[in-house]
């Protein structure tokens, strides 16, 4: 496993995801991807679901990827990487590997559309089959590549173009799907949540390193604050990610072997959810008098879930 030292050292790792891509200024995807692909010294084969990352990083004749890279469709990043991994096993068994001296790791990236929704079956199948790969969900809580439609990851109350706020609507009506727990329920050896940024960069890089050195299917759900559709200033991406953790809207934890839960960060003083919500245009309508009840509901749910995580961790089962 690669030792993740200090930031200066880590930042000097030869870049496998190069600049010059076309992600929005302030997009968290690039930060997450760079951390993940640089968290191992082994060679990589990467697959990417259709989405922001894919359309912005490999527009012919250019690419940002200095690793072997495959994009098939929106819903099959996990199936595609499972095929590549199977070929690696087959050629290894037949002594036909191309570079005997290199270890190869397999990573798939998908947005929440390609992971929570349309690609979920493919991810569930590849995980159940035990392929040796890391799947990273770049969770920006909506279909941002196509202009900000809702997904099953969109949090309740958020405005999206298909769950708009309106005269009689407070926006998204359903709770965010708990995909991390669903992935843990597959019995995957390692599942974790993460956020990019300055405060928790090491948590993300260490989790990626751990996942990549684990044999079997591993999953990281990385919150990816979206300046364009969450409606905050591009320079606030890191602050928004940190606030998601400090409010426990997006707690940092990991689950090993499908059951052993460890909370990786406990806010000293849990910040009220208003702090997180008020900084994003997608929630601005919740601060109208008629919608304030929903902020209270969101707070209650966040408190309940945080309590649940802590109890599960204590129980150690």
């Amino acid at each position: 496993m690669k030792n993740i030292g200090n930031l200066k050292e880590f930042a000097c790792t030869p870049d496998r995801f190069q600049g010059g891509h076309r992600l929005c200024p302030g997009c968290a995807h690039g930060m997450i991807v760079r951390e993940v692909v640089n968290a191992t010294d082994d060679d990589l084969v990467v697959s990417t679901a259709t989405g922001c990352l894919e359309v912005c990083s490999a527009i012919y004749p250019y690419t940002s990827w200095d690793v072997s890279w495959l994009h098939i469709g929106f819903e099959n990043a996990a199936a595609g990487i499972s095929g590549a991994e199977a070929m690696y096993k087959a050629l290894s068994r037949k002594n036909k590997l191309y570079n005997e001296d290199r270890n190869v790791k397999f990573v798939a990236f998908g947005g929440d559309g390609g992971t929570y929704d349309i690609g979920f079956q493919s991810l569930s199948g590849a995980t159940e089959r035990g392929h040796d790969f890391l799947y990273v969900c770049l969770d920006n809580e909506g279909y941002m590549n196509t202009g900000g439609q809702r997904s099953s990851s969109t949090p309740i109350g958020a405005h999206t173009t298909t769950s708009p706020r309106g005269r009689v609507s407070y926006g998204e009506k359903h709770r965010k799907k708990d995909l991390t727990m669903i992935m843990a329920a597959h019995g995957a050896p390692y599942v974790a949540t993460a956020v990019p940024g300055s405060k928790h960069w090491k948590d993300l890089a260490a989790k990626a390193a751990k996942a990549l050195s684990t044999v079997g299917p591993t999953f990281i759900n990385a919150l990816s604050p979206c300046t364009t559709e969450w409606k905050f200033k591009p320079e606030d991406t890191v602050e928004i990610g940190d606030l998601a953790v400090e409010t426990c809207m997006f707690p940092l934890y990991e689950i090993e072997d499908g059951h052993k839960l460890t909370i990786n960060y406990r806010p000293k003083n849990k910040v009220p959810v208003e702090e997180y919500l008020s900084k994003q245009g997608r929630f601005s309508h919740l601060f109208k008098p008629e919608n304030k009840w929903l902020i209270e509901e969101i707070q209650k749910e966040v408190d309940r879930y945080w309590e649940y995580l802590q109890r599960r961790e204590e129980a150690g089962v």
Binding site: D43, G83, A90, L97, Y98, S122
Partner: protein
């Protein structure tokens, strides 16, 4: 190293078993598949070969056909020999990824057991799935019996993986009529079969990580057209390689295949275009017709894609009337074979009288007697020198007569 499988000079195999042994002998590196009737036995047979040590590649039992073809794409791009099998609804679920496989120029081989498309649900043979994949950028080869299912599958690897082609290939056999009908098949021994196909020749493998590769990049209006045109060019130029492979196969086995197959066509006034198991039924009908003094003959595209336009036109040069028999619901048009053959004739300034018959949907029986009736109708057109029969008829359809003009 996989165990050698001792085969007899003559085996009694159905089409599924024949295709399974061809996959085994190709020593495929990755098979990713999902079982569906009537191709399920191919997937089961392959699993058993693996369990008995006759295969040493990876067998990925995915959770859907969409993932089957997606895993095939990942595996093929990674750099090794890849195959799968499917039918009907499974084929339909794969369609999105079929286009992606061919667009990335991945030489995947898929043994298709043709079956009707729902709704209504039907597990029996017709060419609805084959026609669905018509424009997917794959080479489509047709096998009329178990021997051909075996032979075409061996040839498919050699065609697909040829560096001038590098396109995915399907081999097609009719559901149940071929897939579940046991006949004598003369297989090659394992070593000879593998030697014929040859070792897999890698091109731009992702697993050569010292030379990273990009598969599935985005192209918009500046490049998409050029990519699709070059893919089409590869298909249009693949006949040279298909012919080469068929010639080499003939040298090895004595079994001669052609991109256009014919039966008693040389002096024919009347010709039927038909592909699949019905071709053999039609041979019986042609013999009967000739006993009755009708100069009838048959023609079949062995490669449905690339479609052999000019070869078909050339062979139909002296034929007065042609009936194209399509085993797929035409849904608002003439059947695909009618359209392709009419186009081929028109392009070559030929004016045989063309009619279309729809037959055998969902496994509906089509007998030699039925086809003899079609020959007799077609002869009326030949004699009249113009079309005097319906443009589109239906063979062995129950209820009041249905036809379109």
């Amino acid at each position: 190293m996989a165990e050698r499988y001792e085969l007899k000079q003559k085996e009694v195999w159905d089409g599924n078993m024949a295709a399974s042994h061809a996959l085994r002998q190709a020593q495929v590196d990755v098979v990713a598949a999902y079982p569906i009737t009537p191709s399920t036995p191919i997937v089961q047979n392959y699993a058993q070969f693996l369990a008995d040590g006759y295969v040493d590649g990876e067998f990925v039992m995915v959770e859907s056909e969409h993932s089957a073809m997606s895993a095939c794409v990942g595996a093929s791009a990674a750099g090794g020999r890849v195959a799968t099998a499917t039918s009907s609804q499974g084929y339909a679920l794969m369609v999105e990824v079929l286009y992606q496989a061919s667009g990335m120029r991945l030489p995947i081989v898929m043994t298709v057991v043709n079956r009707a498309l729902a709704s209504p649900l039907n597990i029996h043979g017709d060419h609805g799935d084959l026609y669905l994949g018509r424009d997917a950028g794959w080479i489509h080869l047709i096998a009329n019996n178990p021997q051909e299912a075996y032979d075409m599958t061996l040839c498919a690897f050699k065609i697909a993986e040829n560096e001038k082609v590098r396109l995915p290939v399907t081999t097609n056999q009719d559901g149940f009529l071929v897939s579940h009908t046991a006949q004598v098949v003369e297989p090659l021994d394992d070593d000879t079969a593998y030697k014929f196909i040859g070792d897999y020749k890698a091109m731009n493998p992702m697993l050569d990580t010292k030379n990273p590769q990009t598969y599935g990049a985005q192209t918009e209006e500046e490049w998409h057209f050029e990519f699709k045109a070059s893919q089409h060019k590869a298909l249009m130029e693949s006949p040279a390689v298909i012919d080469e492979v068929f010639a080499e196969f003939e040298k090895l086995t004595g079994r001669k295949y052609n991109r256009v197959e014919t039966y008693k066509l040389d002096d024919a006034d009347v010709a039927l275009v038909v592909m699949g198991s019905a071709y053999e039924t039609a041979m019986v009908a042609v013999d009967k017709a000739r006993e009755e003094g009708i100069k009838a003959g048959l023609i079949m595209p062995r490669s449905f894609r690339p479609f052999p336009y000019n070869e078909i036109a050339e062979k139909l040069k002296n034929v007065k009337a042609v009936a194209a028999l399509d085993r797929s619901a035409p849904m608002g048009a003439m059947g695909a074979l009618y359209n392709e053959v009419s186009g081929a004739l028109a392009a070559n300034g030929q004016s045989s009288i063309m009619t279309n018959y729809i037959y055998g949907l969902g496994g509906r029986d089509t007998t030699a007697q039925h086809i003899l009736e079609v020959i007799k109708e077609t002869e009326k057109n030949a004699k009249a020198g113009k079309r005097v029969t319906d443009l589109q008829g239906f063979i062995n359809l129950r209820g009041p007569k249905l036809s379109f003009n």
